[in-house]
Amino acid sequence: MRVRLSTSSFSHLIVKSAAFCLIAFAVYTMLVIITKPNVTVMLNQWQGNMVAAQDYIYDHNDRPIVVVGSSLAAKIDMEYLEPDYWNLAFAGGSVSTGLEIIARSGAGPKIVCIEANIFRDTDEKMIGDLFTPVVWKWKKYLPSLRLRYQPFTVAYNLVNRLFKTKSRLESEYQVDPEFFKKMLDSYRRDYAKAPDEREVSRRIGVIRGQVEKISARNARFIFFETPIHPGLADSVQSSYVRKRLMEAFPPGAYTWLPRPDDAKYRTTDGIHLTDGSAYEFARVFQKTVGDAIGKSGLRE
């Protein structure tokens, strides 16, 4: 069937617009590759999470030590970690999300540090967005498709550099006492209940499968807890999560770091470390990991 398209309707507009788009894309991609814009500030939490994941997948999946976990472990900023580390813990994320990223990207870290504070499901939407069939591999060669180099984000960072700000450690977040109390009370109520046993078993099953897959690439696993408010550290939920994880990944077969001294650290809401405390914990954490690697003879 020969389709005759009216020139007034299927106009030059479509062809010229598509051509302009392709040229703009090619030019922008070349600019990104050549100039490598310095983008350090993300515009929102979702973008921050996705950028950390994409940076790992495309540029840094050779890092020997990877951290996975939730927003608690995400407070250990990459700035505070040595170059051997990469943090795949995300605000709103989970251990299984980080493990899934490692598994699907084909990476082979030597050590995977698993946060043992919180259980959550894999963020299937994030995994789907990161590993869109076929397209995800193109992003290695077309960095303009990655979230780090979105034009609005690049523009924001250019403008942002005109206004110097204090570093995060210098401008320590001033915790609002009323807000803190409200959040802590809320967490006390949540943490007073054990999570649903069937859900916990299911999630542990998922993590076990992921650990087995990554173990086949000669990775070793270290479990750790981030400090939280002392009133929550031995709550029903915290104790339950700790117990179930230790049963599934016993200290004999896996390395468990000693629990941190929760009283030494400050949180903004009972469970998330302040920037200053996150920095302090990062120092202790890296030393303890280093000791664990040395003791268990994992270092080659």
Binding site: S9, F10, S11, L13, C21, F25, L145, F152
Partner: protein, 475 residues
């Protein structure tokens, strides 16, 4: 099924091929109906039952009106048809609101009452019940059968046409609210050669740009309006977030409407414009000819005029205006904050009315600073009223307003404030371009049009936000 999903693209592609296949030419309307049912039932097939019942009742009522010669019977069928549509809406959407008037603590309800208030809101019910009303009322109001919107004596043909009118998938779940007198006369065989691909392209690209680049990015900044997160933000950010929310909801809803218009054009149907640069409005009256046009015209034609409009004296006119807008607000949601949002706009229209009437039509046009002031004022009022939309809990709303006055010394988040300004800029430029074209003509615009659409395509490719559901799906 979301417009920004691969399943939707596949549905449109398959429907397009089948629709224009010569062998299926006689079955074009049936193809569209089948696709519409697949679209609607994709995630929850059980919802289709209510849609089918609605179509059947509206088709039958309108057919009976059309074929009756007894004016009293016609009126009876019309009243029954309207009452049925409103009953569906009341039952599914306002059950909690109505129950709350009778029972103080809904958690104590048991038996059939508990089951009813636990029923989920069927997607699109606010839109298709209103369309059923337009069909029944339009047929009732058409005085001569030859000018009626029912072009067939065959009930099954009319049922088929009504099925398409109500369930046509581009507009089914979030409008525009179609009027029978606009859509029914378009139902006929369509030819591929008549498709205006330029229009399709413009609507679809603009729609996806507004949704994927503007709305989806802004939502991650306006998220912080929620309690208790707003309490730590500066006054400037609190104000900007409300402004950003209005731009977000405009981009989300207008984006959806433009996509719907573009997709409908592919199949030969023209849907009415739903948003026409609302932020250049210089009066509240004008605002409601530019914002959610299909709803405001519905309210005008089927509610305000039915209540007497402006024909029953000034006091009654003001009452009709405020009641119409309050009910229009409640259409959005079954909680009092939506009613208050509508009332705020009703009051604005009522206050403005005497000044509109006194305007001398021969007076010179205002100067640009005056026009700019009026546009800014109308937009600012619209943003202020939008707080009822975004902050449903009244105590949180009061706290939000209080916090705006208290948090001047709190450090302003550059990320939130600059992001909102950056992502609002394209909407601002779009409105300025509209004004420019209106004053100087479109010759300049035609020269750069491909740059604008090419740029939008580029940004859809490299700057889309985290995909979220369309806001108006919840209504």
């Amino acid at each position: 099924m979301l417009f920004n999903s691969w399943e939707f693209v596949a549905l449109v592609a398959v429907t397009f091929v089948l629709y224009y296949l010569p062998a299926l030419k006689r079955w074009q309307i049936h193809v569209l109906i089948a696709s519409s049912f697949v679209f609607y039932a994709y995630h929850l097939p059980s919802l289709l039952a209510l849609l089918l019942v609605s179509i059947f009742i509206n088709a039958t009522a309108s057919f009976l009106i059309h074929n009756s010669n007894d004016q009293r019977l016609k009126r009876l069928y019309a009243v029954l048809g309207v009452v049925f549509n409103l009953a569906i809406l009341g039952f599914f959407k306002y059950n909690k609101l109505i129950a709350g008037l009778v029972v103080s603590d809904l958690s104590k309800l048991d038996g059939i009452g508990a089951v009813i208030i636990a029923l989920p809101l069927p997607i699109g019910v606010s839109f298709y019940t209103f369309e059923g009303i337009t069909l029944v009322v339009d047929v009732f109001r058409s005085r001569e059968k030859s000018r009626s919107y029912i072009r067939t004596r065959n009930y099954l043909d009319h049922l088929r046409n009504t099925c398409l009118f109500i369930s046509f998938f581009p507009h089914l779940v979030s409008g525009p609210i179609l009027k029978a007198h606009d859509f029914m006369p378009q139902i006929m065989a369509k030819l591929l050669k008549d498709v205006d691909w330029g229009r399709v392209f413009r609507f679809v690209v603009l729609g996806y740009f507004l949704k994927m680049v503007i709305a989806d990015n802004l939502k991650d900044q306006t998220f912080w309006v929620a309690y208790p997160f707003f309490q730590g933000q500066s006054s400037i950010v609190l104000v900007l977030m409300i402004f950003g929310f209005v731009i977000q909801i405009y981009s989300d809803f207008a984006g959806y409407s433009f996509i719907a218009m573009g997709i409908a054009e592919i199949f030969g149907y023209k849907l009415p414009l739903n948003f026409n640069c609302p932020f250049i409005s210089q009066s509240f009256t004008e605002l409601w000819t530019r914002w959610h046009i299909s709803l405001s015209t519905f309210l005008r034609d089927y509610l305000y005029i039915s209540m007497g409009g402006n024909r029953r004296g000034e006091i009654r006119t003001y009452f009709n205006l405020m009641m119409t807008m309050t009910l229009g607000g409640l259409w959005h949601g079954a909680t009092w904050n939506f009613g208050l949002w509508g009332l705020a706009h009703g009051i604005a229209l009522a206050i403005e009315r005497p000044f509109q009437k006194r305007r001398d039509p021969n007076a010179r046009e205002s100067s640009w600073p005056v026009k700019a002031f009026k546009m800014s004022f109308i937009t600012a009022y619209f943003c202020a009223a939008a707080m009822f939309f975004k902050i449903p809990e009244f105590s949180h709303l009061i706290l939000y307003v209080k916090t705006i006055f208290l948090n001047w010394s709190v450090q302003t988040s550059k990320t939130i404030s600059l992001s909102i300004l950056m992502f609002s800029l394209p909407v601002f430029l779009y409105h300025m371009l509209y004004l420019f074209n209106r004053k100087y003509g479109e010759s300049f615009y035609k020269k750069i049009e491909y740059v604008l659409f090419g740029g939008m395509l580029f940004l859809i490719l490299v700057n889309k936000g985290d995909a979220g559901a369309f806001i108006y799906f919840q209504f």
